[in-house]
């Protein structure tokens, strides 16, 4: 799961790094991605594999659209004031969750275990698919890396991250960069969700755990440092399984959250922040 976690966390880290916005609704982008994937695979009359591929394209696009809308309609008007944006994204979280509950949760089978749908991928075995997920996540991550370091758009984004005013003075449309970054962050979360949804099920509350985990990953890795985020995602994703072998999952979560709080208190630049 480390791979998927890294994908989600990189989205969050990107948004924080470039925009200085803590996106509390990030987990909901992930959830919406999974839900959209379910809709696409359920309604499109394709064979499962093709439908899933379609979902992998459609879901991130849909979420990116929502994110870009949220950015231009709400976040931009707040001038990206950190505290106001957190409140606003909390509001967004509730709205997205409720929307998913209304349109997805109150579906045709609301009473008898409403979230039992599984998207089957018969041509792969269970573990074979997991391997594929790791591979796909790695490819997407490399793509993001190349995008950030090798393309003009990536350069513009990094320039905006370093100094917003100077970037603006050089004729960069900062508003559009921000909308694009927010959309990209959302799309990464959605892509992670589409990858994971055949293994886990789509559920309107599924955004909670990845949000917390990606918070942890981003903080441990140093806020805004993408390299640190990747390392932390791998470490945490792998150690999560190890820890929960020794302790109960709830206790593991308690320890993890407290550790993260302590890291923020005593090492606010993150464990890898200095390297970024």
């Amino acid at each position: 799961m480390a791979a998927v976690l890294a994908l989600t966390a990189v989205g969050l880290s990107l948004v924080f790094g470039v925009m200085r916005v803590v996106n509390v609704a990030h987990g909901e982008f992930y959830m919406i991605g999974a839900v959209v994937a379910w809709f696409v695979t359920y309604y499109l009359p394709f064979p499962p594999a093709l439908a899933w591929l379609a979902a992998l394209i459609i879901a991130p696009l849909a979420v990116a659209l929502i994110a870009a809308l949220a950015d231009t309609l709400v976040l931009k008007r707040l001038n990206y004031d950190p505290e106001a944006t957190i409140v606003a994204t909390i509001g967004l979280l509730y709205m997205l969750q409720q929307a998913a509950l209304t349109f997805y949760g109150s579906d045709a089978r609301p009473v008898v275990a409403p979230f039992q749908w599984r998207i089957q991928l018969p041509w792969f075995g269970y573990s074979g698919y997991k391997l594929f997920v790791v591979l796909a996540a790695a490819i997407i991550l490399v793509a993001v890396w190349v995008f950030m370091t090798r393309t003009k758009a990536g350069l513009v984004m990094r320039a905006t991250q370093v100094d917003r005013e100077t970037a603006q003075a050089f004729g960069i449309n900062v508003d559009r960069v921000y909308a694009g970054t927010f959309a990209l962050g959302g799309a990464l979360a959605a892509a992670a969700a589409v990858l994971i949804v055949p293994i886990q099920q789509a559920h309107y509350l599924m955004g909670h755990d990845p949000l917390l985990l990606s918070f942890i990953v981003v903080i441990i890795g140093g806020l805004g440092s993408i390299r640190g985020t990747l390392v932390a995602a791998l470490v945490i994703g792998l150690s999560d399984g190890v820890i929960s072998m020794f302790f109960s999952p709830t206790l593991a979560k308690i320890i993890a959250t407290l550790l993260v709080a302590m890291v923020l208190v005593f090492r606010p630049q993150g464990l890898f922040g200095a390297r970024a």
Binding site: A84, I86, V87, I90, Y94, Q98, L101, F215, L251
Partner: protein
């Protein structure tokens, strides 16, 4: 009329109106109003930290729930009487706030929000983990016999309303006194410009810690009273949602105003109550209200009113 008299007069008038409401309102709304008053106390505590001192915490559910459990657990396991249990709730709320504050106040701004959020989440998970003691997700019912305070059965309408009102009135008057006291002024100075107040010789850490502890005491008292008056203690009250709610109330009513939390709680409670008659999508209403507020009225109702008409409003 001096300004001080005007301010005290207005707040006492509000208290009288709320008190008189019980003679007019039907039973359903009376229970609602009791609930709103307790929630308003919670929001007032939040307002002391957020509205006056500028500490945007996302972890107040922790202190609220601490009040709940510090009141409920001794009654359940040890057979405590209601009064010491209530006091325990209030004290534990303050103590926990102090402990969290000692650590969390080393950070500021966004980090402070995340740290408090993490602590609250850890607290919630701890409640679930210790479910043999706390009842976990399902919670437990506070025994009816333990809800009799000074001969008054708090499970019936009128005494419940009176108890909630007493707490509300105390909380409001203390809050009013606090924000008009020198300490309250320094708290506002912290919010407005921490560096400058440090240069004037105030210790920001100490002032913020005091504000957070007072805030925690309010939250603990509200939690203990809520559990006592409505007879149920459960881990749902420790979820993030109960950190968001007081923030919503305060933002709606007006951050940094004494009456704002009550007004916000009143309006929001009935907004949810009325909309849930038409649709079950009440989370959407909460979310939309949050977004709308930060977008269009970041100062809330009373904050805007103070700006336009009544600059003397505390």
């Amino acid at each position: 009329m001096t300004q001080g008299a005007k301010i005290w007069g207005l707040h006492l008038l509000i208290l009288v109106v709320v008190f008189a409401a019980q003679f007019v309102l039907p039973s359903y709304h009376m229970t609602n109003l009791a609930r709103i008053m307790v929630l308003a106390v919670f929001a007032m505590g939040y307002n002391i930290a957020f509205g006056y001192t500028g500490l945007l915490s996302l972890g107040h559910a922790l202190f609220f729930a601490a009040g709940f459990y510090a009141m409920g657990l001794p009654i359940w396991h040890l057979g405590w009487l209601p009064l010491p249990a209530l006091i325990a709730g209030l004290m534990v709320g303050g103590l926990l706030a102090g402990a969290v504050g000692l650590l969390a106040l080393r950070t500021a701004g966004v980090s402070f929000m995340i740290v408090t959020l993490m602590f609250a989440q850890a607290g919630y998970l701890t409640l679930l983990y210790l479910n043999t003691w706390t009842g976990g997700d399902e919670g437990f019912v506070v025994a009816r016999t333990a809800r009799v305070l000074g001969g008054l059965d708090l499970a019936t309408d009128t005494p419940r309303f009176m108890a909630a009102f007493a707490l509300f009135a105390c909380a409001m008057l203390v809050c009013l006194w606090l924000v008009r006291s020198p300490l309250g002024r320094v708290m506002v100075a912290m919010r407005e410009n921490e560096e400058r107040s440090r240069m004037l010789g105030y210790d920001p850490f100490r002032i913020k810690l005091i504000a957070l502890i007072v805030s925690g005491v309010y939250a603990g008292a509200a939690g203990a009273a809520y559990g006592m008056l409505f007879g149920y203690v459960g881990a749902t009250f420790a979820t993030i949602q109960y950190s968001i709610l007081p923030m919503l109330y305060v933002l709606l009513g007006g951050a940094g105003t004494v009456l704002g939390p009550f007004l916000g709680a009143l309006l929001m409670f009935y907004l949810i109550d009325i909309t849930s008659g038409y649709t079950d999508a009440y989370l959407f209403v909460v979310g939309a209200a949050l977004v709308g507020l930060v977008l269009f009225a970041p100062k809330g109702i009373l904050g805007t009113l103070r700006e336009r008409i009544a600059p003397w409003l505390p």
